[in-house]
């Protein structure tokens, strides 16, 4: 067992950026040869993107179907691990990975951890991941496991810099399982009246606003401040606000000049969608709220009190 196998992630013919973060993390470990597996209908379309310093080989597995299918992906990765015997396998902690990577680990008796935010090497890999809503970090190791499969949190590891010689390209013959699900179509979540990704200033609210009837008040406040209203997931789940306004992993990724979060505690999935904002201001009654760890400015205060003052002062 040696070397690191990174599994590239693609969707609708595009390589997802997190793939470069996986490669960056793998390079940082310096644990033997680094291979990147591309399991896709047409792996060659990513050849240019994967010409990166530090990548020793690209392992191409051609799939019959155009789109991701978890059982095909599972058999491809099982075949790749059997053929290459890597000591470490890195995937994105993404929706697609969640659909097959735990199955690979469970069937293969591999070491496994998901949503990994730190990796280092002692006798083998050791990882850090968040626990209990970010209040604690768990440190895990994998004694007795020859191969360890890790899902890395996106937006956490430095991406590999583009540029470098084309790595060795190798087609790997893997026995693929028949698909057990059938792709029907892709759809965008209902388009709203606004595109929150284009706004310079987002006023964002979450569970803290407590009641559906309060949504209107914050729409008015946003308008008065010259901001666009965005929300965290619970308000969309509750049906209070259309999905197009949702910031986070399953919503939109936003990078406004100013992100003003009122009463958003900052679940990981929410932070993933807004941590790239130039300036983040967070107001929350809980001084331990995770949002303060990414905010530039914070205030421990009741959001309604602050909202009322913002409204009054804005004339």
């Amino acid at each position: 067992m040696s070397g690191v196998l990174v599994v590239a992630e693609a969707r609708r013919g595009e390589l997802r950026e997190v793939t470069l973060e996986l490669i960056g993390a793998a390079k940082g470990l310096g644990q033997g040869p680094l291979s990147v597996a591309v399991v896709d209908h047409d792996p060659s379309r990513f050849a240019d993107r994967l010409a990166l310093d530090g990548v020793d080989a690209v392992l191409a597995v051609k799939t019959p179907g155009e789109h991701f299918e978890p059982h095909v992906a599972q058999s491809a990765l099982e075949g790749l691990i059997a053929a290459e015997q890597p000591s470490l396998v890195l995937l994105a902690h993404s929706i697609d990975s969640l659909g097959f990577a735990p199955a690979v680990a469970a069937r293969g008796g591999l070491g496994f951890a998901s949503d990994v935010t730190r990796i280092w090497w002692e006798d083998g890999p050791v990882v850090g991941r968040s626990a209990y809503g970010g209040k604690l970090e768990a440190e895990l190791d994998f004694p007795g496991r020859d191969t360890v499969l890790l899902l890395l949190r996106g937006g956490t590891f430095e991406p590999a810099e583009p540029g470098g010689a084309a790595p060795a390209w190798r087609e790997v013959a893997v026995e693929l399982r028949e698909p057990r699900s059938e792709h029907v179509e892709f759809r965008e979540v209902e388009a709203g009246d606004v595109d929150i990704t284009k706004a310079d200033f987002l006023l964002s609210v979450g569970r803290g606003i407590e009641d559906k009837d309060n949504v209107e008040q914050f729409e008015e406040l946003a308008e008065r401040l010259g901001a666009t209203l965005s929300v965290s997931r619970p308000l969309v789940d509750a049906g209070w606000v259309p999905g197009a306004r949702q910031v986070g992993q399953s919503g939109k990724t936003v990078k406004p000049k100013v992100y003003l979060a009122l009463g958003i505690s900052g679940a990981v999935q929410h932070l993933a969608g807004m941590r790239g904002a130039d300036t983040i201001i967070a107001v929350n009654t809980d001084p331990e709220a995770p949002i303060f760890s990414v905010a530039h400015y914070g205030a421990v205060a009741d959001l309604f009190d602050v909202a009322e003052q913002l409204e009054q002062q804005s004339g």
Binding site: I95, G99, A101, A106, G109, F112, A131, E185, L225, E288
Partner: protein, 256 residues
């Protein structure tokens, strides 16, 4: 349709807490327990689609409360599995144990929450599917049944949805917001105690401690309070003063 729903009683850590044994666990005095938020939705989906709904959990005595809540909502039977050998079991070890419990029910459908709010592995359900060799799809935001097959909307990143068809039997992990979980009335809560709630240990499922060890994906070395980042500059003062500073910062940054 017979549906099995694996659920979890999750722990919330109090604002102030202590660790035991240099970080091997949180002192249980500082934990509060409740049914995992995702499982409220998977249970509701099962109640809407199933003729028979069986809830299963791996957990100590405190998990009984979560099972009773599911029974009060309308689940038919419950099973709790616990054994001292399961102390500190990770997601894949739990998946192995659940496989033994779920397999004996021969369900048409298994519905799991996407993740638990305390550990957030998002791995138990799909690991379970692997052991049972069930077709599986992760992160369903809508499910509709049509004879022997399901049409499922998978919630992908960035507001994208993939519509997929899968035949039964199958296992799905269910996302929050997929439905409106019901509340149980007082009468149902009382009656829940009359419903079958079985408790088994590993031997009762035909498993041994070494089966669990073999399935384990990781070992917890320790828990620690994460290193704080640079942190936010905290704005002090009354709500009025905070609001004034926020307006100044916004004005400055928008003109930059």
């Amino acid at each position: 349709m017979r549906i099995v729903v694996p659920v979890k009683q999750v722990a919330v850590v109090d604002e102030d807490f202590e660790l035991v044994d240099g970080g091997s666990a949180v002192d249980p005095d500082f934990l509060e327990w409740s049914l995992n938020e995702w499982d409220e939705f998977s249970v509701e989906a099962a109640l809407q689609m199933g003729d028979e709904v069986i809830v299963v959990t791996v957990g100590e005595e405190e998990a009984t409360e979560g099972l009773l809540a599911c029974l009060a909502k309308g689940a038919d039977r419950a099973l709790r599995i616990w054994d001292p050998a399961l102390e500190g079991a990770d997601a894949l070890a739990v998946a192995r144990v659940l496989a033994a419990a779920v397999g004996r029910e021969s369900p048409d459908l298994v519905l799991c929450g996407v993740q638990s709010s305390d550990a957030v592995n998002s791995a138990t359900g799909i690991g379970l599917a692997a052991h049972l060799d069930l077709p599986h799809l992760a992160v369903a935001r809508a499910i509709s049944a049509d004879g022997d097959s399901l049409t499922v909307e998978r919630e992908l990143e960035g507001g994208l949805i993939e519509v997929v068809r899968v035949g039964l039997p199958a296992l799905l992990t269910v996302q929050t917001g997929i439905n409106e979980p019901r509340y149980a009335n007082l009468r149902a809560i009382k009656q829940a105690r009359e419903k079958p709630l079985e408790v088994l240990d590993l031997a009762g499922l035909g498993l041994s401690e070494s089966d669990v060890d073999a399935a384990r994906g990781s070992r917890l070395r320790k828990l620690a309070v994460p290193e704080a980042g640079e942190g936010a500059e905290m704005l002090q003062g009354s709500p009025a003063e905070v609001a004034t500073r926020i307006r100044e910062i916004v004005a400055e940054r928008l003109s930059a």
